[in-house]
């Protein structure tokens, strides 16, 4: 709560919170904001341009683009946060283990992270989807893997600093096992910067999900996702140029929101800032 207030006091953070809150509200209350269902195909309304009934037109199957954009927020937001969460867990595990245990484990973990980050994220995602098949969870896993190196590097850097602190020595001296030191001491102390990294990564994850869906590797039809809609929009751009407007705008709003929050968090939760406050 204290953190939220701090973000709210930050000018960019406040705008970010408002934008993201808008997206979340839209995702949650989508059914109340539109007379149509997200999968509702209206015969005879296929590929309509802007109209009173369909302010942003309809797609090939006569589904309301405005409605599908509203529901698409669910996919984007959940895929974004879920995959970042997974990636953070995976990367943090790698980073803390590598940083604390050192030696060959460090080398192995970090080479693995290098290897993962050597691939463009979208390619990596495509490869993971090729192995696991397309689908929502698979995409989340793919994005998680693609994002894990960032978390691994960050967690390792923090661990290297923190493990020099006397409290880690103190825990070792009282007989704490390595697992205990990592879980009870290093992890909680790495949390602040990792949360900031999470907020930075959410935007990237949403973009990746969109990218994978754009390539047809993401969320399965008929579930609407902004990426899929943009891919469709490209097909129909000559007939209904308005198709891309709303999903594109929605994506922009969420990305700007998430990035503003991330910037604000970095300003507020910056490890140095926290250290000053704690001292």
């Amino acid at each position: 709560m204290e953190g939220f207030v701090a973000l709210w006091m930050h000018r960019g953070g406040r705008v970010g919170i408002l934008l993201l809150a808008l997206a979340i509200l839209v995702a949650v209350f989508a059914p109340l904001l539109t007379p149509y269902g997200p999968h509702e195909q209206i015969r005879g309304h296929e590929l309509m341009g802007m109209s009173w009934e369909h302010p942003f037109g309809t797609d090939l199957l006569g589904r309301d683009i405005y409605t599908r954009t509203l529901y698409g927020a669910r996919v984007s937001l959940i895929a974004g946060s879920l995959s970042v969460l997974l990636g953070a867990v995976l990367g943090t595990f790698m980073g803390i283990t590598a940083g604390y245990l050192g030696s060959w484990i460090d080398a192995a973990m970090m080479r693995l992270a290098d290897a993962i980050s050597a691939f463009p994220a979208i390619l990596l995602g495509a490869a993971v989807v090729a192995v696991l098949g397309p689908g929502f969870m698979q995409v989340a896993i793919a994005i998680a893997i693609a994002q894990s190196p960032q978390f691994a590097r960050l967690a390792r850097a923090i661990t290297l600093v923190e493990s020099k602190q006397e409290y880690v020595e103190a825990a070792e001296a009282m007989g704490a096992s390595r697992t205990r030191v990592m879980v009870k001491h290093l992890l909680p102390n790495a949390m602040g910067p990792l949360v900031v990294q999470c907020s930075l990564s959410v935007g990237i994850a949403i973009l990746l999900e969109t990218g994978l869906s754009f390539l047809g590797l993401g969320v399965q039809p008929p579930t609407p996702s902004w990426g899929q809609m943009l891919a469709d929009a490209l097909r129909f751009i000559e007939i209904i140029p308005a198709y891309a407007v709303l999903p594109g705008l929605a994506l922009t709003v969420v990305l700007v929101g998430v990035n503003l929050i991330a910037d604000a968090m970095r300003d507020k939760l910056d490890p140095q800032h926290v250290a000053q406050k704690g001292a």
């Binding site: 999968h39 015969r43 199957l61 000559e238």
Partner: protein, 499 residues
């Protein structure tokens, strides 16, 4: 790919279109854009990427004309024995391969041997095995023997490309055919250039060259067409063509494609064993809407897997309707507990239309009590699920070679063949009728047998044909006289680019 399996049916003419003369293009080279990558120059793979190449680099013995009657090509004339078990062909003289080597009966023999050799993976292999013996009495005569009368033999010839008997069989970079164009260069994924064969037996083509260009995606291809970098793009949807049809600088047209969409119902699935459930799905399948969405207002729908001018077509069985009320009633009469959970297999990567059909069906089935889950997989996954493991429930699918003689389609494709087809459907009456229709040259006997087949199709509904695909294409208006084979493969022999 199953949908590319060989089958025979009556045919349509290659649709040529003549356009008003426009301004001259920079050169006399026709550039065709396609999204599929042409990996090699093998004429027997017959995946979509090969379609613009095969009939231009290679020749066949015969080719259907506009009335679906075989025209002489490398075979000048032919004759069946009275029992219909032997076919004697006289080969054209004075034909030479691109290498300069003269074409003889030995090349027909070698091409046959190549096709039936399982190592070469020719798509028409099973079909060609209907020929039990092939003899070459002299350099320009070939005698083929069949076990039973083989009315679909010209369907086979349509895809039986003659290759150089002395070639290595390596089609990676080289192709030695007798066709109107020779391969000048081949860079997979980029460009394949075919140069005019000046010594072509049927007269040298007007075009100096044909370039098959690989485009990253359909939209890029269409943009290149607009900008004039490409002259021809095929395999388009109705909505893709729409903006071009209003534009005088371009010509749009359609050709048969030999491919039709279907729903395959796997009878291993308990719910689908119930005929009432299958009936309900058929009744909930909005063929009209699908046809309109894909190919516009004059698109056709199919209840039977043939064109109306096929000998196997019977109007009384072309009787499907879209009626969700009846579908619901059928489902309620099925005795199954509702809602029924079913999965539909599709692959956007193969064709976006597979998934669109699945989405339309899903939306229509949901209110009547079938919850359809869409499983969208990549091309490789689709093939292994559908053909190899047969581990699907309903599949959104398309079969090829539709529109020619019914015997090949019904007897040899994994979708329709009576023994061990993809749906698991087995019925002695169906086997008998299919066999009867394909083993006599007598038209009345065949009609009678195929009437029974049509009746069974509509009664048991294990395969639900939806719509024939139409090959929609757009070209610059200077391009004219592009031909299309019965399978919808482009033929550039007579194509012209006006000055």
């Amino acid at each position: 790919m199953t949908k590319l399996s060989f089958r025979l049916l009556p045919s349509l003419t290659a649709a040529a279109f003549v356009a008003a003369a426009g301004t001259a293009l920079a050169d006399n080279v026709l550039r065709l854009g396609q999204t599929a990558t042409l990996p090699n120059l093998d004429p027997f793979v017959l995946a979509p990427a090969y379609e613009p190449m095969v009939n231009n680099v290679y020749d066949t013995l015969t080719r259907y004309d506009g009335n679906m009657s075989p025209e002489p090509r490398l075979a000048e004339s032919w004759e069946f024995s009275d029992d219909g078990l032997t076919l004697t062909l006289k080969l054209r003289e004075g034909v030479a391969f691109h290498s300069g080597k003269a074409f003889t009966s030995a090349d027909v023999r070698a091409s046959f041997d190549y096709v039936v050799n399982p190592d070469n993976g020719a798509l028409i292999r099973g079909f060609a095995q209907r020929i039990t013996a092939l003899e070459t009495p002299d350099d320009h005569a070939v005698v083929m023997t069949f076990e039973a009368p083989f009315p679909g033999v010209f369907d086979l010839f349509e895809l039986f490309y003659i290759i150089d008997g002395e070639s290595s069989g390596d089609f990676g970079q080289t192709a030695n055919g007798t066709g109107p164009f020779t391969v000048a260069s081949h860079e997979p994924g980029t460009l394949t250039r075919l140069d005019r064969n000046a010594g072509y037996w049927n007269g040298a083509p007007s075009l100096e060259a044909v370039e098959i260009v690989t485009a990253p995606n359909q939209q890029a291809a269409l943009l290149s067409l607009r900008s004039g970098e490409l002259d021809l793009v095929t395999e388009l949807g109705w909505v893709d063509v729409l903006p071009f049809s209003r534009d005088g600088d371009f010509v749009t047209g359609s050709a048969p494609s030999g491919v039709a969409h279907d729903l395959s119902l796997n009878l291993k699935v308990p719910a689908l064993q119930n005929p009432k459930v299958r009936e309900a799905i058929d009744l909930a399948l909005d063929r009209e809407r699908i046809a309109k969405l894909f190919f516009g207002s004059d698109a056709k729908t199919w209840c039977l897997p043939y064109h109306p001018n096929s000998i196997a077509y019977f109007e009384e069985y072309d009787n499907c309707e879209f009626d969700l009320g009846k579908a619901k009633a059928a489902l309620e009469a099925s005795g199954e507990s509702l809602p029924i959970e079913l999965k539909i297999l599709t692959s956007t990567e193969i064709r976006t239309e597979y998934t669109t059909i699945a989405e339309i069906l899903q939306a229509d089935l949901q209110p009547i009590g079938i919850n359809l889950t869409i499983e969208n997989v990549d091309a490789v996954g689709y093939r292994s699920t559908y053909v190899d493991r047969r581990d699907y429930e309903i599949a959104s699918h398309a079969f090829g070679r539709a529109g020619k003689d019914p015997s090949a389609l019904l007897e040899t494709t994994v979708v329709f063949r009576p023994d061990g087809n993809i749906t698991g459907y087995e019925n002695p009456a169906y086997s008998e009728a299919v066999k009867a229709g394909g083993s006599t040259p007598v038209l009345e006997e065949r009609r009678a047998a195929y009437r029974e087949v049509a009746r069974i199709f509509r009664e048991d509904r294990f395969i639900l044909p939806i719509i024939p695909r139409v090959r929609l294409f757009v070209s610059q208006d200077e391009v004219s006289s592009v031909g299309w084979s019965a399978d919808g493969f482009a033929i550039f022999e007579n194509a012209e680019i006006s000055e």
